[in-house]
């Protein structure tokens, strides 16, 4: 039994196809990363899976209910948190929790219990009367997640929940996501940060509404990237990039901090090939090694191929 099952889901806005015939399955309790550039169709897909946007064709079964036929039942079984942390800044922490609890129809002991839980995960015990607008981003984000799952849904959709939050808060947030997953909740998450994608059990990459890669992080690195990746440290990476791009033994180049990542193909023989070339152009090579590819390498490779 899958938690989410998507079958040939398509969404068209006029002539523009935002989501183009995608299908995938998500296991219960899985952390499922849904990645893609801005405008790739991530949010549109999430909105359809949440039952607030009707698909043009295809269907998805979320928590056992069809998003086309029973969107209201879908809504009862999911939580949703957007990048905008939809909390009311002019309400106190407690009033926000009360509001979302009320919207989800919670009451009595269960409500008190859930309110405590939300305060607990957001580290806001004893600070119930604080204005939400005065909270730091990381705390707000945890409070937003807490209120999004206050009704204990089996599935939670997080649409870029970590954008605009500092790295430490992001790491703490991922711990929270892991906790949810360990408790059997399916976490469907989109993110811009590829290093975060490494924490996912399964990743799906979409581009221009089409599914282009699928698997766990390890599978993605081995199945979709046959070439080796070299990391080059040199005195003038920008100039080096220009020179190397035109070489027939290199498929793609990209800048990582001060270094260059080179995606080399079968025409590549050894390091000398590159070193010689750069020295002749007066570029000092201080390091050149084969590395384990990052997800970013994989995606750059995949998106390059699409072009």
């Amino acid at each position: 039994m899958y938690s989410i099952e998507v079958n040939n889901l398509t969404k068209k806005f006029g002539n523009f196809t935002s989501v183009d015939n995608i299908s995938f399955k998500v296991n219960e309790g899985e952390i499922f990363g849904f990645l893609g550039a801005n405008g790739a169709g991530k949010s549109t897909t999430i909105r359809m899976l949440c039952g607030i946007l009707e698909p043009t064709s295809g269907d998805a079964v979320v928590g056992g209910y069809s998003v086309v036929k029973e969107p209201d039942n879908v809504k009862l079984n999911i939580g949703y948190m957007s990048q905008r942390f939809s909390l009311y800044n002019d309400l106190t922490v407690e009033e926000n929790i009360n509001f979302f609890g009320g919207v989800y129809g919670l009451e009595g002991n269960l409500f008190d219990e859930r309110k405590n839980w939300v305060l607990d995960i957001a580290n806001l015990k004893g600070k119930e009367k604080l204005m939400t607008g005065s909270l730091p981003g990381g705390i707000k984000q945890r409070l937003a997640l807490g209120t999004a799952v206050i009704h204990q849904p089996k599935i939670v959709f997080l649409d870029e929940p970590t954008s605009g939050v500092d790295p430490l808060s992001r790491r703490n947030f991922w711990e929270l996501i892991n906790d949810l997953s360990e408790n059997g909740i399916t976490v469907f998450i989109t993110t811009h940060y590829l290093e975060e994608a490494e924490f996912c059990n399964k990743i799906l990459l979409i581009n221009a509404g089409k599914l282009i890669a699928e698997g766990n992080p390890q599978e993605l690195k081995t199945n979709y990237l046959k070439n080796d990746i070299l990391e080059l440290e040199c005195s003038n990476p920008v100039k080096a990039m220009k020179i190397l791009e035109s070489q027939n033994f290199i498929d793609a180049t990209s800048i990582f901090g001060n270094n260059l990542h080179l995606n080399v193909n079968k025409n590549y023989s050894n390091k000398n090939q590159i070193e010689k070339l750069l020295i002749s152009e007066n570029i000092q090579v201080t390091g050149l090694d084969k590395i384990v590819p990052t997800l970013e390498d994989v995606f750059i490779h995949l998106l390059d191929k699409k072009k």
Partner: protein, 377 residues
């Protein structure tokens, strides 16, 4: 179901309560408008500035001037000495009316050979006021003429009788006070402006902040959402209505003659129709700024100009008369005048209430259709 509506309404109340500036505007604006309108918008013509050119300058002519002044409507602005001053007086607006008594005034009165003529020159720039001044002036002159005639007939020992005596009584508003007539229009205007603006802004704000999406993914339905969101503003609008009635009583002696229950029910129906307009505007506006502009434009002008609040609808061109149906204020004003001023029952205004309900249904229907379309987009 009520638990969810209550959660929304409670939240909305809290937000409104914290927004002291908005709260102040909503509560103070009606009183401010009422007092300004009540004192400034006044169609009663009093203290008309009168200039007199008395070429006759006899006891009779002075008697005539005094009898004009005794009516309390006119105030002697100045005495003129020759014809050339007339033009100057009117040009400079130092008087609204100039009374010219010819040289032969007393001679004609005493000889009875021909009627004694007098001339009134009235500033006709404001046609409405000019007509009123003319009526006052001719009434005052007639009174003087009757007095003379009475004296004359008595001199010959004949008792004078009037074949027809006109005795007008103004029903509902015996003193013809403008404020009494204005209060219903003011209530209608203030309620529609404040409810449409506040409801549309509060809904568009959720759109702008993205919080509406969070609410949409919960299983709440649009009826629960909209009724919860409107409830606080309906309560505030009611409070406004009561405030206006109290201030109207204190400052302008306006009392409700009719039934308070009908007043309550019709005000509720009216506020709900205004709310439906606010909801409609929130659906077609993306930002609070746009919503505010549309809401102001759609409520303020029609409720002042097209509602019959100030200008009688019957004297508008037919096409404009049809156009007046776009504002629910028109119908509510009829209801309010019936209840507050005339004190009559439901039979006088049930049609208007039905229209207000239809108006609400049409706007809610449109709002639902358009928002469904936007969703699919």
């Amino acid at each position: 179901m009520f638990r969810r509506t209550r959660a929304i309404a409670k939240k909305e109340f809290k937000q409104l309560w914290r927004d002291k500036r908005l709260l102040f505007v909503i509560l103070f604006f009606p009183i401010f408008l009422l007092i300004i309108f009540g004192y400034a918008v006044n169609f009663d013509v009093k203290n008309i500035q009168l200039a007199v050119l008395d070429k006759n300058n006899t006891e009779v002519s002075r008697d005539f001037v005094n009898s004009i002044l005794s009516s309390n409507y006119f105030k002697l602005a100045k005495q003129l000495n020759n014809d050339s001053e007339i033009k100057e007086t009117l040009d400079k607006k130092s008087a609204q009316i100039v009374l010219v008594i010819p040289k032969d005034f007393s001679k004609n009165i005493h000889t009875h050979k021909q009627p004694a003529k007098i001339q009134f020159l009235i500033d006709g720039v404001d046609g409405n006021t000019a007509t009123i001044i003319k009526n006052y002036a001719s009434a005052a002159s007639t009174k003087f003429a009757i007095k003379l005639q009475k004296n004359l007939t008595q001199k010959y020992g004949v008792k004078m009788s009037y074949p027809v005596l006109l005795e007008p009584i103004f029903w509902f508003n015996p003193d013809l006070q403008t404020t009494k007539f204005l209060i219903p229009g003011l209530i209608a205007m203030i309620l529609i402006v404040s409810s449409v603006i506040s409801v549309s802004l509060s809904l568009v704000k959720e759109k702008e902040l993205g919080t509406i999406e969070q609410i949409n993914v919960s299983s709440i339905n649009s009826f629960e959402l909209l009724s919860g969101k409107s409830a606080p503003y309906i309560v505030v609008a009611f409070f406004d209505a009561i405030l206006i009635l109290i201030v109207g009583y204190i400052f302008f002696d306006v009392i409700v003659k009719g039934n308070y229950f009908f007043l309550f029910i019709s005000t509720l129906i009216y506020i709900i129709s205004a709310t439906s307009m606010g909801i409609f505007i929130s659906v077609i506006s993306e930002t609070q700024q746009i919503a505010f502009t549309i809401a102001t434009f759609a409520t303020l002008l029609p409720s002042v100009i097209l509602s019959g609040f100030i200008f009688p609808i019957e004297s508008m061109p037919v096409i404009i008369q049809y156009l007046t149906n776009i504002t629910p204020a028109k119908f509510f004003i009829i209801v309010l005048r019936a209840i507050i001023i005339r004190g009559v029952g439901l039979s006088a205004f049930w049609m208007q209430l039905i229209y207000l309900i239809l108006f609400t249904l049409v706007f809610m229907g449109l709002a639902i259709i358009i928002s469904k379309k936007q969703e699919v987009k």
